[in-house]
Each structure stands twice: as structure tokens, then as C-alpha cells.
Symmetry: C2
Subunit: 390 residues, 2 copies
């Protein structure tokens, strides 16, 4: 047959050469081999036998990784930012106050999102932009503003810092405040105990320590958060509405209601990530990350790199921020690591631009072998750039 003439002709899409680097930036991480396999599993829909079992598996896995008994757990069909927007838009009403102790770009994002919904925001900062907060730093603001929610980032990939959450839930609840936590780059690598720590709304993403694909983001809500959701007068975006999503994901053993079409490859992949974490167990995954990073830090310290985060207990186990010796260029260092060693690390972001390298040893790459490979490459890069350009 003859084809009608189209206004827009066929474009040319060429396959190009592409050498995958070892992904040792702040994320995304490389995929577990079993997760790559899971991506190719068959398309499923609500009429497939296994559909609801797969959803139940995922919810059980999410309860485990967050360490919560709450029934209101489910993954959002989107990136980590969709998880962030879900917890903020569901839990804080327009006109209510969200308190943000801020130390990196994810806190800036939470601020940006909140203002879009007419939520009033109060931000507290410390002198060093990457400094973490003590309970004493936070309590005066809770007392003054009596916010509906406090948003805090557990592991911050832009600064390489870890915020302790111990005692923060109780402190927030004393002032009638819900505790909202970003665990995108910490979950599965740093201990996180939702129920024990009194966290009310939390999200993570699968492309970091879970070694899965981005695009599906586990969330969990406490009974306090659930009560707020059930009593609220405001409506979040349809796509992020936890009330409707709880029906789709069968959180309450009621009738399952179609909300949106899930992505079968991402659903299968997340299920496999959770299975792998369950098989390893959280304590062993935490210990593996701790041991690998301790080894990595020891090696890199000997080469002459300084930690941006001075207190060891404030350093995030997944992403380390290093200062380069005086006279070195961050971008040049990152480019050489990629060109010569095919290892992807990243330069600073937000408050750490021009001030740090960001190196991620997490998930499937949290092994002594990878840590040594990255440390060797960093040593070589330091030598090479000394010789050639300084």
C-alpha cells in the first residue's frame, strides 16, 4: 500500500556505542543480576492470577525494610521525588506549617513542593550547610511554630551526611507534629526502625542500596499519619492520593479498586529487590555496608583525601564526600575516573558544589572488592593529575 505523506517524517534513531561504567556515584546504583532478570518477567494485570499475590509480597517486603507493622505501606509509581510529594501532599494541608531542618538539596525540594500546595514552611539551618541537627537544635522551632509536620532527610546524598533520628519522633509528637523522613539513599544500608523511632511518613527509592531500577518508590505511613489522612479536608493530587492508592494496594482487606496501571517490570523488579534484602536480612546488609565503607574510608584516608564531614558518626555509609587536596579540580578528577578507570563518581551538588567528590559504595557494589577498585582508581587519578596538570 502507499503511505499518506506525514507532516513529521520518520526521525533516525541510531544505536550508539556505550560502555557502562561501574556506578559509584551517589546513585543510581548498578542493578542486582536477579533484578535484571526480574525486569523481563511477563506483563501482569489485575486479571492475572499472581497480580494480587505480587502486590501482597511487595507490601510485606516494604513493612520489613522500613521495620513497621503499619498496614498503610505501598510503593508510588514514580521516582523518589514522587514519594516525597506523596508524603507532603497527603499529610500536610494548605495553610498548615511544615518545619524543615535543612542541610542539602532534598530539603530544598521539600520546601519547593510544600509551597506549591499553599503549605507554610519554616526552615532552620546551621552554620555549616551540611551539619546535622541535635534534638536541642530542633526543639525551639517545634515549640515556636507548632508545625503540622517536620521534614528531615535521613541520609543526604548531596552532602554525604547522616541525620540521627533517635528521639526525634517522640520530640515531634510532644508538639503534635508528624515526623516525615526521606530515606532514599539510606534505606537498606543504615539502620532505620520506623515504628521504634516514631516515624509517621517515610519514602525511599529502589535505585540506591536496594540495587533496583528507579521509578518505583516505597512509602509507609504510621497510624498517626493514617488518622490525619482519614480526617483531612484537603485533597492531594489524584496520582499521589494515599486514600485511593490504599484501595488499589489492598491495604485494608477491602475491595480492590483500580487506580492506575502499574508498571509490570518495575513491580517485578521491586519484589525481587525486597526478596534479596529479606534473604540477606537487614542487619547483615547494614553490617556489610558498614564494614565495606570502613575499609574504603581507611584506604582513601591513607591516600590523602579529607572527609568533608568531620565527625565520623555524621558520615553516611552509602555516599562519602571527600575534599580534594588543594589545587585539584573536582570536575577534572571525576572525568579522569571515568575516562581512565570507567568508574562513575560525581562532584558536589547543591551546598557541596566545588567542595567535594561524592563517592557511592552501596547495594550490589558494597563489597571490599569494589571498594578496593575505587580506592585504587582514586589513588591513580590523584597521581596522574599531579603529574600532568599541577
Amino acid at each position: 500500500m502507499s503511505s499518506p505523506k506525514l507532516l513529521v517524517p520518520e526521525p533516525v534513531i541510531q544505536d550508539r556505542q556505550f560502555t557502562k561504567p561501574l556506578m559509584c556515584g551517589p546513585g543510581p546504583c548498578d542493578l542486582l543480576p536477579s533484578v535484571i532478570e526480574a525486569l523481563t518477567k511477563p506483563v501482569i494485570s489485575p486479571l492475572c492470577d499472581e497480580y494480587h499475590e505480587v502486590m501482597a509480597d511487595i507490601r510485606a517486603g516494604i513493612q520489613y525494610i522500613f521495620q513497621t507493622r503499619s498496614p498503610l505501606v505501598l510503593p508510588i509509581s514514580g521516582s523518589g521525588h514522587s514519594g516525597m510529594e506523596t508524603i507532603i501532599s497527603n499529610l500536610i494541608a494548605p495553610g498548615e506549617i511544615l518545619l524543615i531542618p535543612a542541610r542539602g538539596i532534598w530539603d530544598d525540594r521539600a520546601y519547593n513542593m510544600a509551597t506549591r500546595y499553599g503549605i507554610r514552611t519554616e526552615v532552620i539551618k546551621k552554620a555549616a550547610p551540611w551539619a546535622t541537627f541535635t534534638l536541642e537544635d530542633i526543639e525551639p522551632a517545634l515549640k515556636e511554630f507548632r508545625p503540622a509536620g517536620l521534614f528531615i532527610t535521613h541520609g543526604d546524598s548531596s552532602t554525604g551526611s547522616l541525620q540521627s533520628l533517635k528521639g526525634l519522633g517522640d520530640l515531634c509528637h510532644k508538639y503534635g507534629t508528624l515526623l516525615l523522613v526521606d530515606t532514599v539513599v539510606s534505606l537498606g544500608a543504615e539502620p532505620f526502625l520506623m515504628d521504634e523511632w516514631g516515624v509517621d511518613g517515610v519514602y525511599t527509592s529502589s535505585q540506591k542500596a536496594l540495587s533496583g531500577p528507579a521509578g518505583i518508590s516505597p512509602t509507609a505511613f504510621s497510624s498517626r499519619a493514617e488518622e490525619k489522612i482519614n480526617k483531612r479536608k484537603h485533597e492531594p493530587p489524584f496520582y499521589f492520593d494515599i486514600k485511593l492508592l490504599a484501595q488499589q494496594w489492598n491495604c485494608y482487606d477491602k475491595i480492590r479498586v483500580y487506580h492506575h496501571t502499574l508498571s509490570p517490570p518495575l513491580v517485578w523488579a521491586l519484589r525481587r529487590c525486597l526478596q534479596e534484602m529479606i534473604n540477606e536480612t537487614l542487619p547483615k546488609a547494614w553490617a556489610r555496608h558498614a564494614a565495606t565503607t570502613a575499609h574504603f574510608h581507611k584506604r582513601v584516608s591513607k591516600i590523602g583525601f579529607q572527609f568533608l564531614i568531620k565527625k565520623p558518626e555524621d558520615r553516611l555509609v552509602t555516599v562519602t564526600t571527600f575534599e580534594l587536596p588543594r589545587g585539584y579540580d573536582y570536575k577534572q578528577f571525576v572525568d579522569y575516573m571515568r575516562a581512565k578507570h570507567n568508574i562513575m563518581i560525581m562532584a558536589g551538588l547543591g551546598p557541596t558544589v566545588g567542595k567535594a567528590l561524592r563517592v557511592g559504595i552501596m547495594g550490589v557494589n558494597a563489597t571490599i572488592e569494589v571498594a578496593d577498585r575505587v580506592a585504587d582508581a582514586m589513588a591513580d587519578t590523584l597521581r596522574a593529575l599531579t603529574k600532568s596538570s599541577l
Copy 2:
């Protein structure tokens, strides 16, 4: 090492037997083999060589499938519903009017979403809930309400009907109204010419005639829509903000700005879907769907099924709605098709509950061979249920 005791112990996630059916419901469709392969391609991030080329490929492919020269084209990282919420929340401000000529559940969804943003909605309906609209049906409402936007579903999978869009863009523009179109289940199977028809905002999804995975949804905006976005005072959700997404997707050759982490498997898969459509060409894909469905309709008519949509020109090429002969049960029919023939078709949804079977012959399954297999199975099911239960 000894593991600390966890509040939530490891759950058991078992692999179960699962026989994938031939996906011939209204969607999701089966995946193209090349798309399954694309899902396993390496993780990429903005620091990978091919990242921006892949994004450029996808944008060129989206311009082609929508037939638009607009630079403001990009995929949303979410299901088709995220595309719907993106065009509504970006293009219609709170307090403005959205006119919805409604004939299926997607129009109900658009109504639900719009009201969440404080958008005023006006709905027009015809006597038969699945009847399509003429320009004469629509013009009086445009004249009366002078809406900021008109939302209409091109192919409606809940009713199996196809809405003609010819002349609708000009009519809308006469009243200062933007034309917003859902093409989730029509694009790639039914002719769609965005620029020629004057469509201002459109979205589709990859799990229908494109035979890709759900979870990534191409959108496109006309220059009129772009102007509205640039002048608007309201802010949509962060995750759906086209102003920010246009920077991430480099729609204007400006600096690329990180917005959210894309899902590498879905990005690779969408790129492959677009490549496949380009290789086949749109006119050939349209002709293949038309020829296959014509053959399928002929065969199924002979068996004794009636079309729910009486006018042939109103029938959607991808999803056909059939009435069962008197005395048959829709659910029983669907269950038998699955149990005996391992073919998934679906019963009615929304206005067609208890009134129709929904059979989808689209994408990789739009072949005479599949059409014959489904028609044979439908004939057998009709005979079997006659014998056993009527």
C-alpha cells in the same frame, strides 16, 4: 556476627507458578521482544555518555508518533494517569473552566483530577453513555462556558469508542479554549495528527499499541499551550511541572537541570518502542491495525456477537466491545477464555459493566494470526457455555 532482633521479622516471599496469558484485553498489551531486551540495558545517569542522546532520541520519537513539530514534548515518569494529571494541572488554572464531553471512565478521572485543583468543571453527556460527540454537540457548551480547556478521550477503552477530532481544534480555538486529548489506547493504531488537528495538550502511554511497559507516558504541548504555561500564575505539582521537566528534557537547548531520577529500564524501553514504530512507520501501523481488526470483526460477527458500538466509524480499532447473546454471563465468558484458552479479555468497565466484553487486538498482537486465535477461542467459549450452563 549475631544480628540484633528486629521488630518485624523477615517475611516469606514465595515464587509461584504463573502462566502468562495472551494479553487481549483493553491493555496492558504484551511486550515486543525487542522491548523486553531493551529493559535489561545498563543503568544510565546524567553523567553517562549516551544519556542525553537517549533523551533526544525519545523526544524525536514522540514528535513523530504525535505528528507534531512542537519542541515541548517529553515523557512523564508515571502511568497514563500521570500524563492526564500533567496536562490538566499545567494547562488549566484553579478557578478556570474545563469542559468535558464525557463518555467513559477516563473522562470521569479527568473530572476527579480537575476538581482537586479547584478547576471548575462542566460535563456534557449524550443519551447513550458511549456515544461520541459531533462538533454541533460541543459548540453550544463552548459558547456558553468559554472554558479554558476542553478534555476529550480519543479512543475510550471502557466503551470501545473512537471520538473524531477533526475540526475540534479550530472550534475550540474560536472560543479561546485549549484542546486536551487522551490518546492512551489509540496512539499508534488510529491516525492522530496533533499539529494538523490543532491539539494543544496530549498524552499517551506505552503499554497499549506501542507494546511497551506501563510507567512512562509521552506528552506533547502546542505553542498555544506553551504560551499558557509560560504566562500562568498557578503552580502544578512539582513532579508534573512541565516548565521544570522541559529543562530536564532539554526541550529548548538551554542548560539541562536535574528534576528527578529517570527510570533507566523504562527510558530504554520507550526508546525501543519509538524505534519500532519509526521502523514500521505510522501509516503502516495504522493500516495493520485496521486490517487486523476488520478481519477480526468479520469473523466474530459471523459467530453471533453484536457490536456495542453500532456505527462502524465510531468503533475503536484497538479495543472492541461486544454484546453477548442473551442469557450468557460476561464474567463466566471471560473466565472460560482464560481457563480454557489462556487468553485474557475483559468484561465491561464503567458504563459498560454487564453490557460488553472488551477485546483488545493491538500492538504486537495486531496480527491476523492472533485475531484468528481469539475469534476461534470466542467461538469455542460460546459453544462450551451453551452446552454446560444454559
